[in-house]
Every structure is written in structure tokens, then in C-alpha cells.
Amino acid sequence: MTAGAAAPVLELRGVGVRFGGLRALADFDLALRPGELVGLIGPNGAGKTTAFNAITGVYAPTEGEVRVAGARVNGLRPHRICARGVARTFQNIRLFRELSALDNVRIACHAGARSGFFGAWLRTPHHRAEEARIHDRAVSYLEVLGLAGRRDELARQLPYGEQRRLEIARALATGPRVLCLDEPAAGMNGAEKVALMELIRGIRDRFGTAVLVIEHDMRLVMGVSERLLVLDHGVTIAEGPPAAVRRDPRVIEAYLGDAYLEERHLAPPPGDR
């Protein structure tokens, strides 16, 4: 890594996603440097998950370009983008439910495997060494996320919060440069959320991974991110350090909106919505 401003690991320039006539995301710019922790916020339907899907290859962007570590990845299949170093979790947990926690993580360690089917059938020394490596790696990621004691349990039998953590362990096991977390704290209580955010920060510090977090809980995301990006109706309406974004009137109107004003016992602005 060079001194000073390191080259961005993830760079989006003018990215847009259209579904027929619907513009889900427009002119989206983002530059994520190694080790940065950035929050992506916005009201429901703002295009946050669409942005994730454009980054990870679930949708090919209809405009603009996505670069991972300098290489263009537009239109690549998701597994190729994953191999380039982008891993994600899902808003609605998508674990391999009928497999054990360990197997969930081992599958994510799969990408570097070189031994192939014949190696597996003949149990070659090379294959066995590789299996042992994958096993150790997977166990170490389970430990990082505090799931070492759960390794043999089926993913679907884990409590909700642990399922969320297992998804992060799985994403981390792909060895990403960029970790995209889609509402990792959804459905957790306050204490769990704070602990999770601490954990995410710890992961960033330990692995040097850039992290992009979608989060609904304003306070939470403001506490943990160095930089925020606010989307509304597919358009980026604000970007900057949390303190500045919080005061941005457009953000208050679009995102915090009525709920925020009510919380402060203020009347909504006339003519809003």
C-alpha cells in the first residue's frame, strides 16, 4: 500500500440501474479506500440494496462503471466479482440453512481450492492438505465472530443474532477487500446492535477490509461510520462525515422526515408528502 491517499479498492462512477422505465439508481459515485468504514443510508426504496446488487454483480449496471482494485467488473458474474474481493451479506439472511455453521463458512473458503474433483475422489495428499487448510481457516473465522462453539449446529437452528454473525463470518471467509453488509443489525435489540457495530469496527481494524454498511438505525450508523452516503429515490443527496450529514436539511427532510420531527415534538413542515 502506498503512503498518503491509497488507491480506492472499490470505485463506482456514474452507476445507474434501470428496470424498464424505473430508475432504481442513478449517477451513483462512490470511492472506498482500504480500511474505510462507510455507511449507506436512505429511506425504504431509496436504492441502497440496488447499489449493493450493482456492486456484487447480481444486476449488471445499465450505466457507468464499477471498478474493484482498479479493474472494471461491470457485467461479471457474482462469483467472479467475489473472487476479485467483494463479499456481501443479505438483508434477508441467506445462509445455507440445512448445513452446519462450519460448512457455511467452509463453502466461502472454496474459491482458492485447486485440487478438483479427481483430487477429492482419490483423496490425494494435496487434496487432504487443502481440506485441512480450509477447515482451519473456517474455524478461525467462526472464532472471530464468536461462533466457535456453534460450528456443528445447523445454520437454521442458530438464534437470529448468531445467524447474522454467521453471514458476516461467511462473507469474511472469502477474503474480501471490500465487505458489503446489508442491514447487518436488522431485527436486533439495542444492546446487540451496539455490540455488532463494535464487532464490525474490530473486523475492519483487524483485517484492514473496507466496509460498506447499509443500516436503518441512524444513530447506530452515525456512531460507527467515518463517512455517510445518503440515497433517496436512487439519487445521492448527501455525502460526508456523519455530523455534517445529520445537519443537512435535505437529509432531514428525505430520510429523517416525519419520524424525526415527531420525536422532537415538532410539526411536520406544511405540504410535505
Partner: protein, 324 residues
Amino acid sequence: MRRLRSLALAVLPLAVALPLLLGLRAVAGPYLTIVLLDVGVNVILAVSLQVVNGFTGQFSLGHAGFMSVGAYTAAKVTLGLADVQLAFLPTAASDAVVFAGALAAGMAAAALAGLLVGLPSLRLRGDYLAIVTLGFGEIIRSVIENSPWLGGALGLTSLPLETGVVGVGLAVVATVVMAWRLLRSTQGRALLAIREDEVAAEAMGVDTTGYKVRAFVISAAFAGLAGGLVAHLIGSISPGNFGFVRSMEIVVMVVLGGLGSISGAVVAAAGLTVALELLREFQAYRMVAYALLLIVVMLARPQGLLGTRELWEPWRRRRTGGAA
């Protein structure tokens, strides 16, 4: 030395099985032998289909089609080489070598068929894939029916009767070991990931299309092996042996045993084959009784006899308490 050890590990199951099979061949009477051969072939078919339907979660209905490719290829090889005698070997050994080569050719041809069918069709999911594979099975059948070179609707006859307890037994062991080792390898886990959640598998770096095609090719190759064995078991084959009904029979074995369970497939394949034998007494009502048996089992155990578990791990994956 290390190399020797790893070689030993690779072929250990076959080496253990060989003396047992030789013993079995010595003690089994003619009737038992035929039942055993039938059971063996069906186990190979069920376990190989398990790789696609059970591990990877793709629904293939064309297994008999791949079986027929293997059967006809192997038959053509043994017929073509009928007069060939390897000079340095006695006749029986020479024939066995030719037969082994024919089986390998059958596997290769079936694998190629699997690749040709798999590449375009595995972008489809669920019902659509089932329909395409069903269509493929029927295409193969009617191509064979209309090829005089392959004997047309009458099929090929007077094939050498090379298939015996030892050959089938070794093939069964090879198939089960293949599936077992696959399931416990990183490649096999990639297949399971596709079954569990294709989107997540793709996002975690699994080339889902590539792995589906590979599963298809592997499964087809072993179906081809079963086909080659069947051809040299009764000495004749015709397109009628490899119709849709045959494919369905194999699917029934896999579903009955539990999708994803290797031992389940083995138990169901063996059990159903033996049940059909025992039901011969009831003559006209044989298939009625067979169907009733299936209905009862599926009502009692909708997830199959063993679910995704294996025979020796009944405690694992059982639901705990009242949680659904």
C-alpha cells in the same frame, strides 16, 4: 513411500471389497445372483442421480437417457471387439479387459452427453430443467429407435454376458465412494451450497453454472456405467429398456431414500428392487402393491426414509423440541 500410501488410500475401498465379492460370487446361487445384479445396478443409478437431484438440488428426469448412451456405447465396443484376443492374456482375462474398456467408453460417452445436455439447459431451474431433461431422454430413445446401426426398435442382441457379481460390486463400491468422498470435499460442499441457496452460493464465489454442469456430467457418467453393465447382464438391449418409466423408477428411489442421503439411496434402491422381486407372487397385482408401498412410505416419511441424513447418524439434524 508417501506416494504409495496415498495410492493405497485411493483404492482401499476397492481392495477391501474385492475378496468379499469373490466370496459372494462363490456362495450365491443363480437366483440370488440375478437379484444381486439388479440391486447393484439400481444402487449405481440411484446414487449417481443423487449427485444431481440430492446434492445439487437440480431435478433431472433423464437419467435413463444417459444410461442408454452408456449401454449402447459399451455394447458397440464389445460387439466390435468380439473377435479381438489380446495375445499376452488368456481368453477370459482378455474379454474382461475388453469389457472394462467398453464400460469406460460408455462412461465417457454418457459424460459427453451430460455435458451437451447440461451446458444449455442448466441455466434453467426447477420444473423447466425437469422438462428439458425429460425431453432429452425421449430424444435419445427415438434417435436410437430410428438408427439401423444401433439395431432400431429391436435393439442389439447377443452381447457377451460379461456382467457378474464382482464387476457390479466393484462398480457399486466405486459409485458410493465417489459420492461419499465428493460430499465431504470442498467441491461437494459447493454443490450443496447451490441446493441450499443459489444466489448466496454465487455471491460466496461458487461458479454455480459450472458446478451444476460438472454434477450433471459426473451423474451421467455413472449412469452410463450402469447402462454398460445392464447391456452385458441380459445380453441384449433395446430402446424400450431406457424409457421415461425407467427414469421415473430411479427418481422414485432417490426421493424415497431421501434427497441428499447416499445411504438412503442405497437402501431405497435395494429395498425397492427386492420388493419388486418378492411381489412377483401377486402377479397381476404386483404393480398395484408396489404403488401402494410407495404411497404409504411417502405419507409416513415425506422427506424420504432418511431425509438428508445418513443411515448411521439418526441423531443428527433431528428437530429439537417443539421448534419447527
